[in-house]
Symmetry: C2
Subunit: 324 residues, 2 copies
Amino acid sequence: MAALTRTASVSELVERAREGNARAVARLISLVEDASPKLREVAAELAPHTGRATIVGLTGSPGVGKSTSTSALVRAFRKQGKRVGVLAIDPSSPFSGGALLGDRIRMQDHATDPGVFIRSMSSRGHLGGLAWATPQALRVLDGTGFDVVLIETVGVGQAEVEIASTADTTLVLLAPGMGDGIQAAKAGILEIADAFVVNKADRDGADNVVRDLRNMLGLGGRHSEAGAWRPSIVKTIAEKEEGVEDVVEAIENHRAWMIDKGVLTERRIARASGEILAISMTTLRERMGDLSGRASLRKLSEQVAAGETDPYLASDTIVAELGA
Amino acid sequence: MAALTRTASVSELVERAREGNARAVARLISLVEDASPKLREVAAELAPHTGRATIVGLTGSPGVGKSTSTSALVRAFRKQGKRVGVLAIDPSSPFSGGALLGDRIRMQDHATDPGVFIRSMSSRGHLGGLAWATPQALRVLDGTGFDVVLIETVGVGQAEVEIASTADTTLVLLAPGMGDGIQAAKAGILEIADAFVVNKADRDGADNVVRDLRNMLGLGGRHSEAGAWRPSIVKTIAEKEEGVEDVVEAIENHRAWMIDKGVLTERRIARASGEILAISMTTLRERMGDLSGRASLRKLSEQVAAGETDPYLASDTIVAELGA
């Protein structure tokens, strides 16, 4: 494997990253998440290789054992010989209780495994925030040959809804003794699950959580519609790696169902639409910012202020300029 | 004066409104604030008549006497024979403590005066919110011959900053006994003042508020820059209509200074720029919403999902379509 030079071109970086060079992967992610001028080149180089990774979202309230579960899942996929990428999303670091999620997973034995790449993403210091940076980083991992990408996020704010629109399969983690079973789960989080993982299953109340979930799934809503996917419920003790193979099986079952029904393709097309529109809006916003100093806007504004035209007619000119 | 029919055209409405027909004014405002299809026609009809009104913003914490002061100002301007419009902005009704601001002003004797038009604007039920609706309504009042438009808002949220970018002259109301003088004023609100009105000046502590303001103005910041406007400080007892003529004079002085320095024109050009950009962004967002069902986006998304193109190249097509 050739050494990675500081001045490596984008295509060299992609080549090295696809060979398994973690520094090349990291550099590509930095290029895209900070919207560098090379962003477009990276996207173009990656495009032919994308669309192959299995993308798994993993969310749940603090304390349910997300980092431990992610780590156990990484190990399980590694046993299958798969390359695994992890994006550990910290929407707001205060909630993570100290170390970044990614650091905590990294500490759990994967630091020296070249088949595992872990990236912490916090909302600080990114142009456009996590909603912008996450799909970009995902595209890099997908396009550089990772077979599985796990996106882990704390179940706060909008993050868990975004994870569901980004992932192929979304796992919602619960644990007994967290308040009052599924009653304590944040509103909206149960709806996004493709599989429920009841972790810490050796604790009192685990069976109650499972029973509550079964009742809920039987009661109606999206999950009981005809032809809809009925989420699996899996019990785990992630600390002891118990039940993790069942989670992998649940992911594979969901994937097989999605392929069978054409849902996987539709999810990916919807995700692509979302990405295209987000990029378009960012482009337009940038162009609008550039306008502020431009003569055309100044002239139109003078005409509006003088009553020679109205702001709607003036905006027609601006909108046409923005699209050009 | 001809009667106003239900089917009156936009140009009829503008004609009647300019003659002083309050129902015609109200109907025009409804057309623009809800972004009706006639919005552009209204803007075009009004344009030649705009740019004449003196626009005064009035803000301050709850309890300083904003409604009473607005009402007293209306009376003072009416004595000069001027037509006066009031936009009473309720960013969030809970803060207004019951009746809408406009209703409270209306109750104070102006209900039967055809030279006064009062409109309450709450953030409920408006497309695009108050930031969208306020400049639109202002444009109607300006274009239908109101000599003075008072924009009153509770000093909460972003509203007071927006008022400063919308008004020619911004009055910040304070009152003694509200916490600890100017220390209690919300951060940012002192910076936007072109004049300070210390209301309830018969109460203990009024002179302390005036002294604190003088000290603050001497201490640096925007107001002490060379060539900058130095805000006047006026004491009033709005309930007894005392000092209100001084407020009118402060507004006139500020206006004369702005005209002398070319600041008024620049403020209006900046306001027009803001309006043009806001309308442009709204147009683009609408067009983007329309795209969701369109074949071109679907096709591009399929190509991205299949790795045949990347989302950046795809967005070029979309951005061009949006501008067209």
